[in-house]
Symmetry: C2
Subunit: 356 residues, 2 copies
């Protein structure tokens, strides 16, 4: 035994790829090593964005770093993703996206033409979103210390309505709407990365969602909660929101659309589409009496034209209220065609590293 | 000749470390490959932050990614740097810093204790600055695709005064105030990286500057322009501002304080302290009749207690107005002890990679 090092190094906990999964490992890392240092009301809310007072206005602020590999994939690229991801995070709090920042970490040796292509894609997507890229930063790291290009976008949005949107607003009886088929982004990336070929090519669903959200709010739908289905997929979003709301959800598996190519690729790779990342899909919790109106509004918008009701919010299990110390949690339960039920947990570890 | 590849790969321009210098190469990369896609009023201003209308308020927004190596250095660490850097960028536009985001790119294998130490440092520095870390993101990349930890912070500040602050406000006759001795951050990093030892240890000047700026504004000093002296150092800041203002600056080299250890380390490594990065120093352009008052205000604040007048703004050379197409530019001229003058250019390439 080396007396200079009484604690064997093997006990030292190291960051693993699963810590970037957006699922249970990420939450554990944040709970144990990040949040204890940053305790404030916004961090405790655990949202993808923070709603902040600023003078007489309310501002929504969010950030995401994008490390997707490869940089270009069917249906998008890292630049489109970096704009969509941050615009969508703002939209999910019910805000109108206004301004984005763009911070680049370039690896030495990246062709500058590649950077130009990515910037063009960012600019086109920002123009489509009606947001302005207003400030930025550029760093370069040595070969082997990056992977071509990482992008951070932070975003600012304005809250023009007074509707509270968040897990705590979810009510028993709310219907759960899903904006379209799931799993396309993750499987498009995986297929490209693994060199898989299918009869119908797999395209990412990477898209801007603020238009659909804006239309719902403009139509007077009392949206209780919104969540885009990124890392960890639909299942992780449902599990997190059930816990955040302190309510049980009952979700009908046969109502969840999965395209043939995504289903085939998932079977080939042994993945569950419920846990595969999307970049252009969301769920909305709305009062049951407004669900048909909400579906009609979403149907008129291309990105959510295949929206469906996939489930319902049930009662509050005793002791599962948010913040209660009983250990009882709201659960997301999935019912399959045979009527069998299974509990949806957060994605436990890493399924698809560097998906966004 | 390979007919499949008619353009020899050797002609393809690749990103080099110098593109991250913050000097001329960075500007060229942005001018040619980034800005053409992002043309808007804020990008054209070329500031480190953007001042944006948001409802009835004016918001200042900025972002920086931090890739400093090593993560810990005498006088600071990447976490302290990530808070100071973004707070200081907000302060340099005259804004009160309010909110920060924190986005992490972790390399697989990073000890989670290291992450905890960095987060604690961020939290302490944010508390000292009176800003809240309100939103964040965590990504993990494979071993060899990062370097332990990269941090992006974006920041939001509020403009409570109507004083325009920026290069275009610089006037002939303004005095140029420097807040203290230069070169300590860059040389502390280089000494640690190269394993150099000196009699007096080199400590980074990494510090929060918004207190000093707030005190100047509160004292009624009509500050015309502010700039922190980060990548590219004092010389690059002066060259950029002279061009941005369309005016000549005359700077007295003997008035610029450089500590003995920094001077010694610079001589050993063949570096010019005028181009070495600082993380706790700034220059302020103020009307001559307010300069003594401004110095008294700065002297009372620890971070700027050794402030000095280092130069004066001269006339506008004909044809050098901002945006003029004559090719004539405002210049920063340095006069040494012997009375010899030399022109200060932007840092041409890379001097100290990954300094911040």
């Amino acid at each position: 035994m080396n007396i200079d090092c009484p604690i064997p190094l093997a006990t030292e906990e190291l960051v693993r790829l699963g810590h970037g999964s957006g699922g249970e490992m990420t939450q554990k890392l944040l709970r144990e090593h990040v949040f204890p240092h940053l305790d404030n009301e916004w961090i405790r809310q655990g949202h993808d964005s923070a709603t902040l007072p600023l003078g007489s206005e309310r501002v929504v602020f969010t950030t995401d770093s994008f490390v997707v590999s490869p940089l270009f994939f069917p249906g998008g690229d890292i630049g489109k993703l970096a704009v969509c991801g941050t615009v969508n995070d703002l939209a999910m709090s019910g805000a109108m996206p206004l301004y984005l920042s763009c911070s680049l970490i370039l690896e030495e040796g990246l062709p500058v033409k590649t950077l130009g292509r990515v910037m063009q894609s960012m600019a086109e997507t920002a123009a489509e979103a009606g947001v302005k890229l207003v400030t930025g930063d550029t760093k370069v790291v040595e070969r082997g210390r990056g992977d071509g290009l990482y992008i951070n976008t932070a975003g600012i949005g304005a809250l023009s309505h007074s509707l509270p949107v968040g897990p705590q607003q979810i009510q028993a009886g709310d219907l759960i709407l899903l904006s379209g088929d799931i799993g396309r982004h993750g499987m498009a990336i995986m297929a490209r990365r693994e060199g898989l070929e299918f009869d119908s090519p797999l395209h990412s669903d990477c898209a801007l969602l603020h238009g659909a959200i804006g239309a719902l709010l403009d139509a007077g739908i009392a949206v209780h909660c919104l969540r885009d289905l990124t890392r960890g997929g639909l299942a992780t979003a449902l599990a997190e929101l059930a816990e955040g709301a302190g309510k049980d959800f009952l979700v009908q598996e046969p109502e969840i659309p999965v395209s043939g190519p995504v289903q085939g690729a998932c079977e080939l790779l042994g993945l569950d589409p419920l846990y595969v990342a999307n970049e252009g899909r969301f769920i909305a919790f709305v009062p049951a009496h407004q669900a048909q109106h909400a579906l009609a509004v979403m149907a008129a918008i291309r990105v959510s034209s295949d929206s469906k009701v996939i489930g319902v919010v049930g009662d509050t299990p005793p002791g599962s209220e948010p913040g209660s110390q009983t250990g009882v949690r709201g659960r997301a339960v999935l019912k399959n065609t045979l009527g069998c039920e299974r509990l949806l947990d957060r994605l436990p570890g890493e399924q698809l590293p560097r998906i966004c």
